[in-house]
Each structure stands twice: as structure tokens, then as C-alpha cells.
Amino acid sequence: MSPRELTFHIFRYDPETPEVKPHTQTFKIPEEPAMTLFVALNKIRDEQDPTLKFDFVCRASICGSCGMLINGKASLACKTLTKDLPSDITLFPLPAFKLLGDLSVDTGTWFRDMSVRTESWIHTDKVFDETAQEEKMDDDLSLEIYEAERCIECGCCVGVCATANIRPNFIGATGINRVSRFMLDPRDKRDEQEYFEVVGNDDGIFGCVGLMACDDSCPIGVPLRGQLAYVRRKMAVAGWHRK
């Protein structure tokens, strides 16, 4: 069987040259066995247009650099095999993030801001003691924390979220998941009211309208629906108790 010819329709826009309007450009390449979009995009850049911008780092679905809209679905380009796609492939950058050019968006700045706003670090008064044995923790709990911590900050859940696209300050499912990660962690001494101040509002859990585009898009399979509901319930209780 002769290989398929793949036709890519790729969004092009360079903020440096705003006079050139956003458009899609078409590229054709022959398909190879086990070809991923990482391989395909590099082939296009190496052989057809060296100016094409996109981001890959680990090419192994670990680092979260390569989220984009692939035929409308947000996912990691590096883990998408062309054989799972029709021969016409449309690629758009993730919405909701600042566009740096073509398929490249500034997820880094967004996530940093989210981390600062959700104060994503262990809040503790304890001072590290070099000579002491570590505190014990149940392995099931550590697995549970890890489950939430598996988020790789790819931004797919943010890109597809209608709320995040409309409200720039919304922390998205990833932000809410992040908060749940610290809520689970006994090392963090914040109480429910302190968490409420962080997420008990419209930029946090109460901004979420429950469309679950996030849950349908997370390429890592972080259980976002469960995490959103967990935080919502906790925050409802906190909101109820609040003076």
C-alpha cells in the first residue's frame, strides 16, 4: 500500500509583522510509519518552511510544551500519531494564551501567574531539620497527591475552556486541580477559609460552568471532573461557614 499524502492546514501569524493577517498555509508531506505530529512538523520545517514556529521540548508527552488544536481537539502534538487522523489535518494554536507566532503560545507566563495567584507551594511554619527523619505519610495518600500533581501544565484544559476564553483571570481546571493538590497534602497548613480566599470566587471554582471540555481534553488524564467537584464541595462548605 502506498503511503498517504497528508495535507496540513497550519495557522500562520507573526505578531512582529501585524500587517500580514492571520491565515492558514497548506503543506503536503508523505506519511511515514509511526509518524507523530512532532515528526511531521519538523519535517515541514526542515524541508519546506524554516520559519514555522512551534514548541517541542521532550517529544514524549512529559513536558507539556506542545499543546495545540488538532482538527479542533486540544492535545499534545508530540503524542498524536498521524495514522489516527484523516489525511487533512488542521492545526491551530491553543486559544486563551498569548500568541507568540504560528503554533507557539505563551503558556509559561500564564501558568506562572496562576501558580502565584493560587500560592502553589507548601505553606508551613516548620523549618527543615537536616538531622531528622522525614515525616511519615501513607503511600495511598502520596499516590493521591501525585495523581493531582501529574498535570504537566500543557494548557489544553485552559485552551478549550469557554470560561477561560472569556474571563482572562479564570484559573482554569488546572488551577483548581492545583489547589486540590495542596488541599490533600497534610504538609500544607492552610485551612479551608484560606483556600476559600484563593479559589472561592469567580476566578476560581465558582467561575466554572461545568462544561467539562477540560475533562474531555486533558492529554495526561488528570481526573479533572473529580478534582473540580472535590474543590467545589469543599469550598461550598467553607463558604457556608464563612463569617
Binding site: E16, A34, T36, P50, I62, G108, W121, D139, Y146, E149
Partner: protein, 603 residues
């Protein structure tokens, strides 16, 4: 002349992986102003890709009982084939347990000892009830005890996220998408760097009392590597370009036994640590024949060579991407595979369409780690230039000698981060911030002249894509696992040609304006070739076999002549690196037999 803005700070850290961030935290905690530069957002650094774990002799797991820094020390030195600095290794093994616990304090959800029995290789493991809930460890190659602390399949990810959370907490400034390209120095002291924004292509000058390079490894010089695609050695090349800073042991390149064919994505050693087997084309488990004691878990250099040896003997599985062997984890069962080795099953499913619960995974030794790098003393201070430090995979602190043990490099990043970070803080206390403006101008001009020349050559220049590919293939074929004088000589002359051609690199696409990715890559090319040449030349000159450096024409370790470290310099205008040697610090364990590898066991 290009315009640029100048930022000054106490400590400038180039690289936001684990090593860079840990050092930045140490400096910031001591009250210094710190700025970190990174090609990418910090959490995307390659440290996040380490799935296996980090070594520290906590001795909590039943199979790690009785472990202590001395045992760790012995494993490390033996693993390095006596190529490491023993005073460094001693500091390292003593600090590793503290570093692991500190990371727990900062939030890493380490996997803990569980109150349940399990079978491992036919024996039952029963955990000590006293230890339940303490940090667990798994088995890794080349270690006498189970010592590798892990978080399911995401050790590097959780470490980096915890570390970065502290960077955020301390309010340390990070400039991401900012590539350092030139050290500002006067041949004696380093004053900072010239960097280029990957957002808009503008040049930025950073002036610092102390500059730190923590830019990670450079595996992407090879055609098949497990490394991230940004690991092309920019930071290390920048140091070499100074003309006065030497790179240590560049020929010491680690090949991981199990890169998945053909994407070369790593299947972590955890797979074998958990009890995975290597099979040949007949489904025969061959490692016990070669390494009766350690089997699949001898050190990486040995397992990689044994696989290649077995393939050469005609037992490999043929494929369009060359012969390979199989990794078999089916017998571990669905539950273990999907819980503790989930990343592996995801990778096998996604990138090869294989279900490891039922099927075999095609693997072959693949470039994985660079033991060599910017040579520093035990405080992390770089040879040749004052006010310059380096740590992590980009440095040759020399903990790993000629072969790094799996799990020792994540540990190195946070341990060195602690130790070197403190030194950086102390050093910065006494340092001043003064620099002549014409020195800055000189270095900025150098960078912009290079950019202008590339732009001017345009389509008349060389295509960087072609040169890079040839370089990668040359290293792959001639400077791989088995090396000979003839091939190495070929590599050196081929790479020299490519280096000459790289001087004429142009642009095939646009005009190299703004953040044009082609200009970024074209700028990196000459530096990559310099590194490739230090590797090939170092390997050609080292006429012995030690650790991962295996010469078929000199198959024995030669302590009499070669118990020394290569130092590669690149003087201004030279066409080839200049090699010097220094002695290795041996404080406690004299050179001996490794107990695995060619000197023992069956051939």
C-alpha cells in the same frame, strides 16, 4: 549596531532545571538577588523527564536495609570505573539523604513504604512495619541496595515542580524563552552573559557578580538520543567559546540500554528495576549468561554493551530501524504496570502502539547522558574564569567519572544545588559588580556580527539542517558504544569539515527577523560542532576502555597511563580542541575490579 538593555543582579543562573533552580534557591535564601534564564518555562526543563528516581541511602525499604553512605560511595566509584572525584563523591553520598528529605519537606509526594507483601524475582519481600510510611526505594542498575527514591513514575516531574514552587515562593525572577549565547568575560573573570530573547529576537545583557551555568546535557548531538530536543549544549558551548574554560571528559557518553525503537524515547530503568527482562529474537533471556550476578541490572554501560554484543552475535530482532532486542515486563502483571510503571505503558501505547501488559517493547541502547561538561572544582567553581560556576548535567563536577549510575544524576542536581549553591552565596558576598562598558559592547558586537553575517549569507550559505544531520550521524556511527581508532579518526576529520562549513551557515527561509527559529538554530550550529569535536577527539586520544568509553582496539582499562581526566580547551581561532589531562582525586577506594562487565562473567 544592535540596541540592547542591561539587567544587573547579584547572581545570574543560566538554566532552570533542577540544578539551576536549587542553586538559585540557595543564593536567594542567603539574601542575594537572583535572576534565572531559561530557553523554556522552568517546569518544561528536561529534569521533568526523569521518571526513575534519585539515589539516597535512606535504607527504609526492606531491600535497602543496611544501606548507608559508604555503600552508596562504593557503588558510585565502582560505577564510574574509578573515574570520579572521590572527595566529591563522598560529599555527595553524605548529603543525598538530606536532600531527599528536604525535597519531601518542600512537597515531593515520594512513594512511601507500604504495609504489604510482594513478590520480586521469586522471593517474597516483607517490609519492616516500623518503616511503613517512610520514603521508599526501588532497585536500579549498579547498586548493591535498593536505594532509588521515586514518586511512582514521575520522580523528576515532582522534584522539579516542588523545586519550582519554592522558586515562585521566594519570588525569584525567571526570564524564560531567553537564550544565553555569549559569556561576557575578559579572559580572567566572568561578568555575565549576552542573551537573546526567543520571543522577539532582541539582545539582552545580564551583568552579575556571579554567573552560574546549569544548562543540562547535550545528547542531541547524537542522532538517536533520549534527551529533550533543546538539549543541544548551548550553555556548555558558551563556556568553551571563552577559550579559557576547559570541558572535562567529553568522551564519556552514556548509552541507556532501553531507548524505544524508533522514537528513542526512554523506557526507564525502573522497568528493569521492577523486574523486567531483556529478550532476544528467540525470546531468550540473555543477560544472565553475560552477567550472572546482576543480570539486567549491571551498570548501564555494561548492559548496553552486552545488548550490542548479543545483537552483533546475530541474536537481534531485525527492523527497518536496525536490529533491536525486546524488553519484557508482562510478568509483572497489569496492576503493577499500570500503577508504578504507568508512564512506560503510556509511552509504549502512545508512541509504538504496544500494550506492555501483553506485548514486548522493542528497545536498543540509545545516547542518554553526558558525564562530561564544564570542568569545575569541588565547590562548583569553573576552571579558568573567576565568578563563574557550573552544576548539574552541564558540569563535570565529576561525580560520575566514566559512567553515571541511574538515579545519581537527579540526586546530583539537588545535592550539588545545596553544596554549590551555598558556595555561590558565600562567593557572591565578597564579589563586586563592576564591568567596563566597552567590554560589554565588545561581546554584544561579536554576537550581532555573527547574526548579521548569517542573515547576509541568506540562501547562499550552508543549510543548518544538513550539517546538523551529518554531525549527528557521524557521532552515532563513529563515536558510539563500540569505538575504534579508525572510526574515531574518521569522525574527527568529518566533524572538522562540518565545522568549517558551519562557519558559512545561512538562512534558507525568511530574513532571520524577530524570533525566526531558523536563525536560532543556525546560531547554535558552530557551538554544537565544537562540542562534537571535543567528544570525538577526546575519544580518539583515550587509548583504553573505561566505563562507557569502550575501545575495541584497547579493550582493557589502563590505570597506569589513563587514570586521568581529559580537559578540552578551544583557544580562540583554533580549528580543533586542545587536550590536556589532570589527575583524578582518589581518597578512599583504590582502583579495582567492578564485579560486572568485561573483566568478569562470561563473554
Amino acid at each position: 549596531m544592535n540596541s540592547y538593555d542591561i539587567t544587573t543582579t547579584d547572581v545570574l543562573v543560566v538554566g532552570a532545571g533542577l540544578a539551576g533552580e536549587r542553586a538559585a534557591v540557595a543564593a536567594a535564601e542567603a539574601g542575594h538577588n537572583v535572576i534565572i534564564l531559561s530557553l523554556i518555562p522552568p517546569r518544561r526543563s528536561h529534569s521533568s523527564a526523569a521518571q526513575g528516581g534519585m539515589q539516597a541511602s535512606l535504607g527504609n525499604a526492606a531491600m535497602g536495609k543496611g544501606d548507608n553512605p559508604d555503600v552508596h560511595m562504593y557503588d558510585t566509584v565502582k560505577g564510574s570505573d574509578w573515574g570520579c572525584e572521590q572527595d566529591v563523591a563522598r560529599m555527595f553520598v553524605e548529603t543525598a539523604p538530606i536532600a531527599v528529605r528536604e525535597m519531601a519537606h518542600w512537597g515531593v509526594p515520594w512513594s512511601r513504604v507500604r504495609n504489604e507483601k510482594r513478590m520480586y524475582e521469586g522471593t517474597e519481600i516483607v517490609e519492616d512495619p516500623e518503616k511503613v510510611g517512610l520514603i521508599n526505594a526501588r532497585n536500579f542498575g549498579g547498586t548493591a541496595k535498593w536505594r532509588t527514591c521515586y514518586t511512582s513514575d514521575g520522580a523528576g516531574h515532582t522534584l522539579l515542580y516542588a523545586m519550582d514552587s519554592i522558586v515562585i515562593k521566594l519570588g525569584i525572577t525567571v526570564h524564560d524563552r531567553m537564550e544565553a549565547i555569549e559569556l561576557i568575560h575578559d579572559g580572567e573573570r566572568c561578568y555575565g552573559v549576552v542573551a537573546r530573547s526567543l520571543r522577539d529576537g532582541e539582545l539582552h545583557v545580564y551583568i552579575a557578580k556571579t554567573t552560574v551555568i546549569a544548562t543540562g546535557g547535550f545528547g542531541r548531538l547524537y542522532a538517536a538520543s533520549t534527551n529533550a530536543i533543546i538539549n543541544d549544549g548551548g550553555g556548555v558551548a558558551m563556556a568553551l567559546n571563552s577559550g579559557v574554560v576547559p570541558l572535562g571528559n567529553m568522551e564519556a557518553i552514556q548509552f541507556h540500554p532501553t531507548g524505544m525503537v524508533p522514537s528513542w524515547i526512554l523506557i526507564t530503568e525502573g522497568a528493569r528495576g521492577e523486574g523486567g527482562h531483556l529478550l532476544d529474537k528467540d525470546g531468550y533471556r540473555f543477560m544472565p549468561d553475560y552477567e550472572p550476578k546482576y543480570k539486567e541490572l549491571a551498570s548501564r554501560d555494561v548492559v548496553s554493551r552486552r545488548i550490542m554484543q548479543h545483537i552483533r552475535a546475530g541474536h537481534g530482532v531485525e527492523s527497518p530501524y536496525g536490529p533491536h532486542v525486546w524488553l519484557d515486563i508482562r510478568h509483572l502483571g497489569e496492576h503493577r504496570i499500570n500503577t508504578y510503571l504507568r508512564e512506560i505503558s503510556t509511552i509504549a501505547r502512545t508512541f509504538a502502539g504496544i500494550d506492555p501488559v501483553k506485548e514486548l517493547i522493542p528497545v536498543r541502547p540509545t545516547q542518554h547522558y553526558t558525564m562530561g561538561g564544564i570542568r569545575t572544582n569541588k565547590d562548583g567553581k569553573v576552571y579558568g574564569l573567576d565568578n563563574l560556576f557550573s552544576l548539574g548535567e552541564s558540569a563535570c563536577w565529576d561525580l560520575h567519572g566514566f559512567n553515571r549510575l541511574g538515579g545519581n544524576s537527579l540526586a546530583e542536581t539537588v545535592v550539588a544545588g545545596r553544596i554549590v549553591g551555598k558556595k555561590i552565596a558565600e562567593y557572591t558576598n565578597d564579589a563586586t559588580l563592576e564591568v567596563k562598558s566597552n567590554l560589554i559592547q565588545e561581546h554584544v558586537n561579536k554576537v550581532s556580527a555573527r547574526m548579521d553575517a548569517i542573515r547576509a549569507r541568506g540562501k547562499n550559505g550552508e543549510n543548518w539542517v544538513d550539517i546538523r544531520k551529518e554531525m549527528q550521524m557521524t557521532l552515532e556511527l563513529d563515536v558510539g558504544i563500540f569505538r575504534t581508532g579508525e572510526h574515531l579518526q574518521h569522525a574527527v576529520s568529518k566533524l572538522s569539515d562540518l565545522y568549517e562549513r558551519a562557519q558559512n551557515v545561512g538562512l534558507m527561509g525568511g530574513g532571520g527577523q524577530g524570533a525566526d527559529p531558523e536563525l536560532v538554530n543556525a546560531m547554535r550550529l558552530p557551538g554544537m560542532l565544537k562540542l562534537a569535536l571535543t567528544i570525538a577527539r577526546g575519544a580518539l586520544e583515550r587509548k583504553e576502555s573505561r566505563g562507557s568509553h569502550f575501545r575495541e582496539d584497547y579493550p582493557k582499562r589502563d590505570d597506569e597511563n589513563w587514570l586521568k581526566r581529559t580537559l578540552a580547551y578551544w583557544p580562540e581561532g583554533a580549528k580543533l580542541p586542545e587536550l590536556k589531562y589532570e589527575s583524578i582525586t582518589i581518597t578512599e577506594i583504590p582502583p579495582g575490579d567492578r564485579g560486572y562487565g568485561e573483566s568478569s562473567g562470561k563473554k
